[in-house]
């Protein structure tokens, strides 16, 4: 009898421990606010408009309904940015258009659309899959707050461009869902799992 009970207990334990990994849901990162109706509103990236490497105006609304990855960079960055760009390129090659990449320049004075186009051409990437954007610098740095603030553990910590090279995963509604240290290849590998998870919600729609 005792052996049957032990066997049943082990089977029950096995059943619960084999919970499907796909049950994992990526949280919506960042501070939640409460609206007038008393509902909790998760943090969301503000609307934006920039010019891309093809000198075409791009809005955040054009990305609505699809997840994307974002980073902040500039083409003359001598240290961190090349490492992050290398990881972004790795993501680009792996997903081959299944998820868009968006890189915001914080040096619009030098990173004109033409300069960004040369930069993109050197990487041999297509604008339909990877946007390099340039616009007002002050607005861009404020926008960085929306992306990076979710990546800081302390919700009261000042956000903004921290030059750490974070790569941010955003869902189709503008919510930050995950991030990785773009200078750490292992961290980016871990991000792949979150990207795959989020893409499942959108592919087939």
């Amino acid at each position: 009898m005792i052996y049957r009970l032990i066997t049943l207990a082990c089977l029950a334990l096995l059943a619960t421990s084999c919970k499907d990994a796909s049950d994992k849901v990526l949280p919506k990162l960042g501070r939640t606010t409460t609206n007038a109706a008393g509902e909790e509103v998760p943090h969301k990236v503000r609307s934006w408009t920039f010019y891309n490497q093809d000198s075409v105006e791009v809005t955040s609304a054009s990305l609505s309904g699809q997840p994307y990855l974002a980073d902040f960079f500039f083409t003359s960055c001598p240290s961190i940015c090349p490492k992050v760009t290398k990881q972004m390129l790795r993501i680009y090659d792996h997903y081959d258009g299944r998820i868009k990449l968006v890189s915001f320049s914080i040096d619009p004075k030098r990173d004109t659309p033409a300069k960004l186009q040369r930069y993109a051409n050197n990487l041999e990437v297509e604008s339909s899959k990877w946007l390099f954007l340039t616009g007002d610098k002050d607005f861009t740095l404020d926008l960085a707050d929306d992306y990076f603030v979710a990546a800081f553990e302390d919700p009261d910590a000042p956000g903004g461009f921290d030059h750490s090279g974070k790569i941010i995963l955003v869902d189709g509604d503008g919510h930050v869902r995950s991030f990785a240290e773009g200078t750490d290849p292992d961290d980016v590998t871990d991000l792949f799992a979150d990207i795959d998870l989020l893409l499942k919600d959108y592919e087939g729609k």
Binding site: F74, S76, C77, P78, S79, I80, I106, D107, K109, R110, D138, L141, D142, P158, G160, F161, D162, H163
Partner: protein, 131 residues
């Protein structure tokens, strides 16, 4: 064949002797230059935030401190642009000799140190203005 190899040998030696600045004899100096850059690069965020604060506090063009606030904003912008310009112009002469690379890095160390000082002093003055 022997003559072909002999004629190519100097070129091969030149390519082989190309100095990798991050691992060659100037690696330490290169690291020092980048360390100063990495120290102040995040201050760009501080400059951005404090410019916003100054604009917020000194938005009345008729006030006596308005002119000083405009001057302060100019100094902050110049300090920020100093860093961006330095980065845009920083190009390691990959084909140069180690001695020439050393001279280049020494010049860049002086330049980035000035950028650092300009940024830090502008931020310090601006913070005093907003307190």
């Amino acid at each position: 064949m022997k003559y072909l190899l002999t004629s190519l040998l100097p070129a091969i030696m030149l390519i082989a002797c190309k100095s990798d600045i991050k691992s060659g004899p100037n690696a330490e100096l290169y690291t020092e230059v980048m360390a100063i850059h990495d120290e102040v690069m995040p201050k760009m965020t501080d400059i951005h935030q404090i410019k916003k604060e100054i604009k917020k506090q000194y938005n009345d063009s008729t006030s006596e401190n308005y002119a000083a606030s405009v001057e302060m904003l100019g100094a902050l912008t110049a300090a920020d642009e100093g860093m961006m310009s330095w980065m845009a112009d920083f190009k390691i002469p990959e084909q140069a000799s180690p001695e020439d690379q050393k001279e280049y890095l020494q010049q860049q160390k002086i330049a980035i140190t000035q950028v650092r000082n300009d940024m830090l002093s502008a931020i310090e003055e601006a913070k005093a203005m907003t307190q």
